[in-house]
Symmetry: C3
Subunit: 338 residues, 3 copies
């Protein structure tokens, strides 16, 4: 499990172009770098007066959210609109899909409406992958978070933020702190950091919030915060998923904050120029001290800005890949038309 | 009641152009054929890279849904966006309109915002017609389903699907199966099929789910499924409206499925090349066997694709008619400006 | 408090351009007149076939509604779309912002997404002003109603309606009738009328629905409806905010209607050509008699039409001001680029 091979071949075309974006796991370094380079150009554009490009003009992007997430939905909606796509938001509670229509029927229906891209959020691990298998070859699928499995656009916006602040990944020590066990973000971050060449990836959490075999992903485990933060270049805090945590796993928020909350005292163990990241929304006084969240080492708002750019990059690249594949799949038909 | 005369003159201009689309009943064959021809061109377009035309650019389409229907709303929203309209979705529960504001006030307010088109969904039969009377001449009204009365765009997408598969209506035997009593779709289908010249229209349902005098619409009644399906070219299944059915009318879902569910065995009575239709969402194992729904005679997903095209056709035609009428209504004013 | 000085300097640029629109209080007469002139041109445009201008193309407008208001949201959404902006609607219940994220974090996040404009609706007085302070200089803020404080776009659409019917404000007697105490609209109307030069502003309400010191705003107080309406040119009815009223303040709706409902009998005291206004939605038989609301002196639907135009005017002017200020703030950066 330690070799970065393509563990999700469905997300690439035969030529290695992005086709779906389901997980960072196993993607080639060149592809992740291409995402970051493309996103960089969109960051620059979003400071322009007209923040719009016609890359997805006439395309239909459907946000299929089986799990509510206003913030993630907003970033994808904005990204799609800035690419000039037509956007349809569908909040599909799991209960309503059970009532009469199967998930597959819903997907086939949306596909039959000539949708070009599904942005999928689902509480089940593997849902985005399942959907990509169902809808190929007409639709490109972007994973906006599936269960505990992956949240690849969040991971890539984090990578973009690191690269814009640190220049490169080589030589970096990065600590991921918090509820690793329930975090789809942490998994995606670890894969991306390894592929991009970070020197050392550490996870810091209480024993009860660590998944088994986490070391096999290539991360060093710390249960003591101060030791884990020593000399790191980047501190990536996770959001405490209160609603997902069993009370038996954690005594109290104040206890968690005391041991794993990022305070100025604990941050002093990191390098003097270490940056502090958090995916938001922030639970102030639970995961992080306000003075740190709002301090000069915080790059939390950069993450938000970069989030739009990364989503625009992934959407435009996946659309290109999907079109390239579709054209390859129908050469005879095209020739007949000549 | 057997003569196909225009029973809803409000929906045509003096010159016979479509102006509102409220019911298929009594419309001229030429007009229904024009809708199908226009929709055909949009089906072709939706396979293009850029699925957008500027026919409704700068126009405001308001989806006035007094009854929730995510699927129907989505198709109209997409159709309007692909015509380049600005779209406003208003989910107006009946209760909220009762709270302080009358329906008429709501309509006059939306009209005063210079809306150009209302897409109306309402649980009361006749609601779309009432609204069209109120808002004329500024606004075109499209009926997206009103009570048990009509669902004309659904009927026309069904007609488009039949024509694309069978080439013409002449000589066709068509069976409509299920809860005829509560179905606005069945009424609109029967009217459209008669006008377009289908040879024989059959309705198949238990006695308790048949409206009185259904024969007067021009349909032959069968209570036995196998007899009704014998030699038909088209099988149109209806959706079982569970929430609308009184328990006394029907013993159980399994009983219904046994007698009227479309299985491979029953389908064998139809012609070998008969097509199978369903408006969706499908209740598998209640109205239809999965092997039939997903089988080679099923054209259910074609119906979805055709649904966008038919809505684009009806919206663009009604907008043309409304503009033509408005120009005719103000010739003196225009002349004064010369 | 009787001098019309700029009580909210944040809403103007150094050069006196509109930059945010938070309150009508203290704005220069020239600026209010510019809003009306600009809105006038948009009223004319909205009768055109293509009701769209590219003034906000590539800009992102976020409707931040902390308090639900379908009608106000719709007018701002339509106005933004007709200016060609990309629009994001966020319904943020107060409870959800309490759950984990502070208001400031929400704002900073939306700002980091490179939003250009926030349209803010909030139940707390002063919320829009607070938000404008937080997000300057990247974002322009439009107040869509904050607590009992202000609802300036409603006031300005009322001013536009008066000017289009009466030609000017000089010499006009205007009566504002109803629940003055809880009305943000009344405050904004009184300020705007004074600034624009109305001759006499009257408020008519029961003693229990009058704020203390209302005279200091420049209004004459009447508790008797007939006396208050005598010889007025304009009658502005307020909406009865049932949910905000303490039962002790008012015995019953029928009692209120008897004393302060606008009937034909009471309207007879006003000038023969007096116009009747109401912000909607109307409570027929509570605030106003149907024969008056639908009568020839009613300009209620004109208010709706003018509401879109005023919002387009304010949005485009604030965007110009915000861009001018941003350019002034970065001259050195721009020069470095030469």
């Amino acid at each position: 499990m330690s070799e970065p091979i393509n563990r999700c071949p469905i997300q690439l075309t035969e030529n290695g172009q992005l086709r779906h974006f389901l997980t960072t796991e196993g993607l080639p370094k060149e592809l992740l770098t291409e995402i970051l380079d493309t996103a960089d150009s969109f960051v620059d554009m979003s400071a322009q007066q007209v923040k719009k490009v016609p890359l997805l003009r006439g395309k239909t992007v459907v946000n299929l959210f089986f799990e509510a997430s206003t913030r993630t939905l907003s970033t994808f909606e904005l990204a799609a609109k800035r690419l000039s796509a037509d956007v349809l938001n569908l909040n599909i509670s799991t209960s309503s899909t059970k009532k009469g229509e199967t998930l597959k029927d819903t997907l086939m229906t949306m596909r039959a409406m000539h949708s070009d891209m599904f942005v999928v959020r689902h509480s089940d691990s593997g849902a985005a992958h399942f959907i990509a298998e169902q809808v190929t070859p007409d639709v490109a699928v972007i994973n906006a978070g599936d269960g505990r499995h992956a949240h690849p656009t969040q991971a890539m916006l984090d990578m973009l933020t690191i690269r814009r602040h640190k220049g490169q990944f080589e030589g970096l020590k990065v600590a991921i702190v918090g509820d690793i066990l329930h975090s789809r973000v942490a998994r995606s971050q670890i894969h991306a950091l390894r592929i991009l060449g970070a020197e050392e990836i550490r996870v810091i959490a209480p024993q009860t919030l660590l998944p088994r075999h986490i070391e096999s992903l290539g991360a060093r485990v710390y249960t003591d915060m101060n030791s884990g933060l020593r000399d790191v270049d980047v501190v990536m805090m996770l959001r405490l998923q209160k609603e997902r945590m069993d009370s038996a796993l954690l005594p109290s928020e104040s206890e968690f904050y005391k041991l794993y909350g990022l305070t100025r005292d604990k941050l002093a163990f990191a390098k003097p120029d270490a940056i502090v990241m958090h995916p938001g929304p922030i639970n102030r006084g639970v995961e992080i001290e306000s003075a740190v969240a709002d301090g000069e080492r915080s790059v939390i708002l950069d993450q938000v800005t970069n989030g739009i750019a990364v989503r625009m990059a992934v959407m435009s690249m996946a659309m290109s890949g999907q079109l390239a594949e579709k054209n390859r799949a129908q050469p005879d038909i095209d020739n007949l038309n000549l």
